[in-house]
Amino acid sequence: MNILYDERVDGVLPDVDKTGLLLALHTQWPDLEVLQHQEELKPYECDGLSAYRTTPMLVVLPRTLAQVQGVLRVCHERQVPVVARGAGTGLSGGALPLEKGVLLVMARFNNILHIDPAARSARVQPGVRNLAISQAAAPFGLYYAPDPSSQIACSIGGNVAENAGGVHCLKYGLTVHNLLQVDILTVEGEPLTLGSQALDSPGFDLLALFTGSEGMLGVITEVTVKLLPKPQTARVLLAAFDSVEKAGRAVGDIIAAGIIPGGLEMMDNLAIRAAEDFIHAGYPVDAEAILLCELDGVEADVHDDCDRVREVLRLAGATEVRQAKDEAERVRFWAGRKNAFPAVGRLSPDYYCMDGTIPRRELPGVLKAIAALSTEYELRVANVFHAGDGNMHPLILFDANQPGELDRAEALGGKILELCVKVGGSITGEHGVGREKINQMCAQFNSDELTLFHGIKAAFDPSGLLNPGKNIPTLHRCAEFGAMHVHMGQLPFPELERF
């Protein structure tokens, strides 16, 4: 089934009078930058998930909030779908445009409005880059904790929309745990403040609801994040194992010892070799798995924790445990992990990055099943894993120029995600559903749950104009998708008519 918007199963979109819309926008905002020619629209046809591309009808690049509000009002009046976009680094196609829609680019809103060291907060516009917040807070000894690997480029508005994670989530939480306030405009252009500058606010927790809602409920116009004092010190241990199972058990043992590492990452042999080849981080290339365990905090505690973890790793059967002897080596150990994706990219013309989560205890079984799927689909899979929080990033290696390989990669990816759901996990830990995992949502949620999600959408955007087709599949899509996976002769969603 085509992953691009398909009106047959995703819902009919209103036909837009493009000339009338352009005229309305121009009359109201003569200064508003609007892109409409094919060559200008081209750069906006995809986000970080470049396998899927759609040329938007128009791209608007507002510079003021009044313009954003105006664009939303005009689009609402004329029933024009709107897709909001930040830096466009998302990996699930959450900002994939629509042929019949406006792409609302918020990247120009890139001002840090206020860093308040006494309140430990930063008030920023949505187009501010994730890393720029930490850089601006650094002179005060503070930083913004969530660090998705795209942090040099991704913007905070997108981080909120996707509830972005990173390698330090187990200890420091996701985006949702590090926000105080988000200001939004509704589909009608009405401003709302969710959360507050205090630690809580009256009423329902709409701040939590909007975080990770993938631009379906409103457009983010301002974000206040919490800042934390920078840990005094960080040390990293590298442990090698002769089996993935042993490495997986070691992770549980570290936590059982009462230690919550700042970062805890696992890589399998294919990923280790790729990273070592690329970065020369000093990884043991004959190990079946390595663990990177970062301990951060106050010097004395980190020293004690390192001793404890080293002992735990030894007892868990590590063939080798190394502690980075200085900051340079610590950075090198991490560089291998942080560049694992491009490193794997050197092994193969294309790769497809998955984002499932599982309860950690299921790791050995899931890795075995992935290996079996890899053989079945005749595609190599490298495994990189945020081991501390159960977030897997299997990388499927393929060559898009070989007929059928992209389809096989997608099918294999889908199987891996369904496997995650089966063992009690989720189809996405931090990349979001977007367009990419829209079909797998049908495996994770039943029709009543999806119906409730549609109800939430309707509470904020009854006409369904904000980012249509993302995050929550229609029941018709699930019926059609399910029809391809008839289980024991039982058709899922039998109550729905088939087209």
Partner: protein, 351 residues
């Protein structure tokens, strides 16, 4: 009482209520009945649906049924040297897990650890459409679909019946030490803002009008070093439970009690009555006879909100919402509970 899955009965009662329709007053231990507006409705007692569904300490996740006593949850975690870091207050020995989530109240560690909502990973909910559904899960990271689970925290039962919840838990700190320093509240607020910008292992900070009380938690090294640096006298650690459960003398005074939630660096608020500063400055308790409108105008000025903790004193114990926001609360309620059977009016008269 034994562990028991009584969800079928809960679902049946909801479905019956939907049929007529009859408003339901969701009730666990009834320990937080004093909070919010009074609900007229048939009692839906959750306490028979109880017990730990699953708990694997190395996964740092526990799944519990809503009627489980909070004390039982604490005991189970305690046995594995773990805890729910947000320290939800119980207000008596009857409190249940469902009430803890629905009220969303957190204790002294909240500014450093996060709130009840921050530890929610997944829920099962009986909806206003008479369905028993599952959202979120038992994994730390999960961004599939809208975050229904965290939305349920603090919703006071107005959006549906929470039957089960999965919570993130953490190991207990290795070392804990409490101290008390002699300083006035202005100075205390300044020092707290300063210390919060440094990697100090503070996990609770409260000023009672005379003295600043601090709790230090972490490894042996950091706690000892912070203790040496900050000085002060040792404080009996039961202080924090007494503060959390409102057993300190401060709470006994005969005047109405208000909770003020303000930005953490807000200076001392000029309000009549006695104040106690908690959450390192972000939460202020106020004992006063002052008028609700006056209190709220002062707190709004600094970007905060005020909840009345004394039952029956004001028509709207929760801080009134701006009109636009209330409208979206209303449409959300309409979608999730179209017949308005779940705790109608508990949060606001209109919901």
């Amino acid at each position: 009482m034994d562990d028991f899955d009584d969800s079928a009965r809960l679902l049946e009662q909801v479905n019956q209520a939907l049929q007529y329709p009859t408003p339901l007053r969701i009730q666990g231990g009834n320990s937080k009945a004093f909070l919010g507006r009074e609900v007229a409705g048939e009692v839906l007692d959750t306490r028979s649906h109880r017990g730990v569904v699953s708990y694997d300490p190395t996964e740092l996740v526990i799944t519990v049924r809503c009627g489980t006593p909070l004390s039982e949850l604490a005991d189970v975690l305690d046995a594995a040297q773990q805890m729910l870091p947000c320290e939800p207050p119980a207000f008596g020995d009857q409190a249940t897990v469902g009430g803890m989530i629905a009220s969303g109240l957190s204790g002294p560690r909240r500014p450093w650890s996060g709130s009840v909502r921050d530890f929610v990973l997944g829920t099962r909910i009986i909806t206003g459409h008479g369905k028993h559904l599952r959202f979120g899960g038992e994994v730390m990271k999960n961004v599939a679909g809208y975050d229904m689970s965290r939305l349920m925290a603090g919703s006071f039962g107005c959006l549906g019946l929470i039957t089960e919840v999965s919570l993130k838990v953490l190991p207990k700190p290795r070392q804990c030490s409490s101290i008390s320093l002699d300083m006035d509240s202005d100075r205390a607020l300044l020092r707290l803002a300063e210390w919060a910008q440094q990697p100090l292992p503070i996990s609770a900070a409260c000023h009672d009008g005379q003295r600043l009380h601090l709790r230090l938690e972490g490894g042996e090294g950091s706690v000892t070093a912070a203790h040496d640096r900050l000085g002060g006298e040792l404080l009996d650690p039961t202080y924090w439970a007494d503060l959390n459960e409102q057993r300190l003398d401060f709470f006994n005074a005969d005047q109405p009690l208000w909770r003020l939630s303000v930005p953490n660096n807000t200076p001392r608020l000029s309000l009549p009555g006695a104040q106690l500063i908690d959450w390192g400055g972000a939460q202020r308790w106020l004992k006063t006879d002052a008028d609700a409108g006056f209190i709220r105008s002062i707190v709004e000025e600094v970007g905060g909100h005020a909840i009345c903790y004394t039952s029956g004193l004001t028509e709207s114990p929760f801080h009134p919402l701006p009109t636009a926001l209330l409208r979206y609360h209303h449409s959300l309620k309409q979608q999730l509970d179209p017949q308005g059977i779940f705790n109608p009016g508990r949060l606001y008269a209109e919901l």
